[in-house]
Symmetry: C2
Subunit: 229 residues, 2 copies
């Protein structure tokens, strides 16, 4: 039964840049599941109608339409229990939620450095929607949001301290092997890497070394995606 | 076999104010284990000699001396596997490490608001050591560290956003029930509560409501400890 995943894409359909879609792509690879990915743009509302959603990720498995990355990851865990676990049982599942929220906060900070880079990669159809909705959200122009972005880099990196400390103590947040918690956080860095040349991490940061391990995971699935290095 | 726990104390021996000792106290209660707590001050170096440590928590179980809260929690999990789990298996253990590091970062921020309150509660014997060592660490006087502490409150609370988001979604970081991850974070708030009247959380913050649930846990173990409300 084919699994399909709608992924946010730029004008280049191979450029996929949703943090949450990337978390699911990695989760699917972790489970050893084949997936047919479908490029999706903000204006492609109609194709998601069966999910009741207007945003991705949306995963289709047989006649099931699933949305929200957390719900999709839990669906994969429950539907394919004999494959490598994404959570490690009920306690591990509960403990993973905080990582997902930490990722949301990271993304909300990182977007203030890469917002214009996102805009620049969109289709001409998506651009007006994106500019209008984001300028309304931020209360200023896209260009104003990312102005002086270099000044936002150190506070962003400072906020990663608990990640950094942990990755000095173990290879992955999941221990010797990554779990969904790793993929949720990694999605933010992979999103940024796919859409922006602006480097969020210092090269010798333990967080960057962990990112490299995940870029190389699953035969370089994330590394080989169109992006910046 | 009696379990003994050395806990950092002020001039009032009942005032216990180490975040990491509190994490272990809660972990012991979670396991349903009786404990004999022993007040310890910074200058009581000799009594810890068998542990090879100069700081608490130090736990003594039979002829075993254990130190470092993370190692103690793992010892309790392994030694009492039939009692309620603190981690939920190997993945849950690995996932808990980030919480402990998040707690360390929270404590490093909170101490800049409560450092003088700590000093004020110490024995006269501990005070000179504490002032000298902390003033060297911070590169300024204790009083300078906490100057204008009100201005540090909002950044501290902002940094709790991923905790707050999670606690809107579930009762505890461990899910329906607390796990060691909860106790590691709670220790920071209980440390502050025991030593300082300076309130770190807004009353309606979901983090404050979670703190109240843990203050009330185990028949009010933490609530009944000498502190501020």
């Amino acid at each position: 039964m084919t699994i399909k995943l709608f992924e946010l894409s730029g004008s280049d359909p191979e450029r996929r840049f949703s943090p949450y879609c990337w978390a699911i792509r990695m989760a699917l690879a972790h489970k050893g599941l084949d997936v047919q990915t479908i490029p999706w743009r903000f204006m492609d509302r109609d194709v998601l109608a069966p999910s009741g959603q207007t945003k991705v990720p949306v995963l289709v498995h047989g006649d099931k339409w699933l949305s929200e990355s957390w719900d999709i990851a839990n669906y994969l865990e429950q539907t394919f229990p004999d494959r490598p676990t994404l959570f490690g049982g009920p306690q591990g599942t509960a403990l993973s939620k905080f990582y997902c929220n930490f990722a949301v906060v990271m993304a909300s900070q990182a977007i203030r450095m890469i917002l214009v880079d996102i805009y620049d990669h969109l289709t001409e159809t998506d651009k007006p929607y994106f500019r209008e909705s984001r300028e309304q959200r931020f209360g200023m122009s896209l260009e104003q949001v990312v102005a002086d972005r270099e000044s936002k880099l150190q506070p962003f990196r400072d906020g990663l301290m608990p990640l950094r400390m942990t990755l000095k103590q173990q290879e992955f947040f999941g221990g010797d092997q990554p779990l969904y918690a790793d993929y949720a956080l990694f999605g933010v860095f992979q999103w940024a890497r796919c859409i922006s040349p602006f480097e969020l991490l210092a090269a010798d940061d333990p967080v960057a070394l962990w990112r490299t391990r995940l870029l190389n995971a699953f035969n370089g699935l994330a590394q080989s995606a169109p992006g910046y290095d």
